[in-house]
Symmetry: C2
Subunit: 216 residues, 2 copies
């Protein structure tokens, strides 16, 4: 019984590396590749793979969104999140979206193959570090209270380094109103200043990398 694997990563070098790692094992077969989230979802729909190796950082549609869709439409298909950095928000997001496993790109080949087989069998396999992040998250439930839509808009402008006055102009509201929103954002994020809010937003992945790079 061969396990059919779909690889989703925006770097061709990484895809080729994974292909090599997996190709050596006769129980595994790479049935397709995808270079972004949308491709990944479409390929999964067509191929019905047993396991998807999904990079979290991809253009067009990020990996977490793709995981959600795939897990919804194809409950038989298990997804392993794949990333180069072990970051709290990414682990939690991937697991929330339905990933059964989480691994780093510096994982060795045997470990990788073991995880794919476990995933195909529906068994959860997490690295000790990833488990630790999940534990912490469970112990501290929704540390980040959900921001409202408007607050997210304000946060996005904060992350571009704008002042309250500039934000007010951009959103066509009074500066006092902006201060109210900022006040609530700081409280919800549990920080003391807009700079900390910006750093927290970036760290928690509340804003996409594109948004925070607009500066200049």
């Amino acid at each position: 019984m061969v396990i059919r694997v779909l690889i989703a990563d925006d770097h061709s070098v990484v895809r080729e590396g994974l292909r090599m790692f997996l190709g050596r094992d006769p129980e595994l077969e790479v049935v397709g590749e995808a270079a972004d989230g949308v491709e990944a979802v479409e390929s999964a729909r067509q191929l019905h793979p047993d396991v998807v190796l999904m990079d979290l950082l991809m253009p067009v549609m990020d990996g977490i969104a793709a995981i959600s869709i795939i897990r919804n439409e194809l409950p038989e298909t298990e997804v392993i999140a794949l990333t180069s950095v072990l970051e709290s928000a990414a682990v939690v997001g991937a697991v929330r979206a339905g990933a059964i496993g989480y691994l780093l790109k510096d994982t060795q080949a045997p470990e990788l193959r073991r995880m794919i087989k476990a995933a195909a069998a529906g068994q959860v396999q997490l690295s000790p570090q990833a488990s630790a992040y999940l534990m912490r998250e469970v112990r501290t439930p929704e540390k980040t209270e959900a921001l409202t839509e408007r607050e997210m808009e304000v946060l996005r402008l904060l992350v571009q380094g704008q002042s309250n006055k500039e934000i007010a102009r951009a959103l066509q509201i009074a500066e006092d109103t902006v201060k109210t929103h900022v006040k609530h954002i700081l409280a919800k994020l549990g920080v003391q200043s807009r700079t900390q809010a910006v750093l927290g937003a970036i760290r928690l992945g509340l804003v996409s990398p594109e948004q925070r790079m607009k500066l200049q």
Copy 2:
């Protein structure tokens, strides 16, 4: 005449992918691998490769530092910077350090082989985007005036979201002095607020990723 290549990347998957890409070409031979900057430098010393493929984001010693050392000690060895994101600071930093080329991890195999051969011949090969970044840098000479050592220290604390008072305590100096430093930092970075300074520092790569992640 076979071109001897050293691969330096902290992700085993990426190394394997590069090996695959390059192995298909009889003119290229992968003579070694390194998982961090220090390993890269040591391997280069021993192996004297013709070309080093150097990831910029690595633990222990980052790629740019490793490039500097290698280019200094082994002028015959050309280095191609390798990274997943095309970012202004990284391009400029790599070229300053002595990289002869710069390429992204989503580069296709033929392109990759072509660049390695050009590099071995001492020819510069840059992607159009990377060239554009360099052009902009040249047109805007030292947009970022060099910060002094003390200013860098203050900047690092700024990037951790600390207030002037907290920074003063951390550095054992008066808050007024901190304000003076911050004043100079803002002027040199050409920004209007500490939040913008933090964003700029991150974008320009003036602080390492580890430093900005300390929050919490």
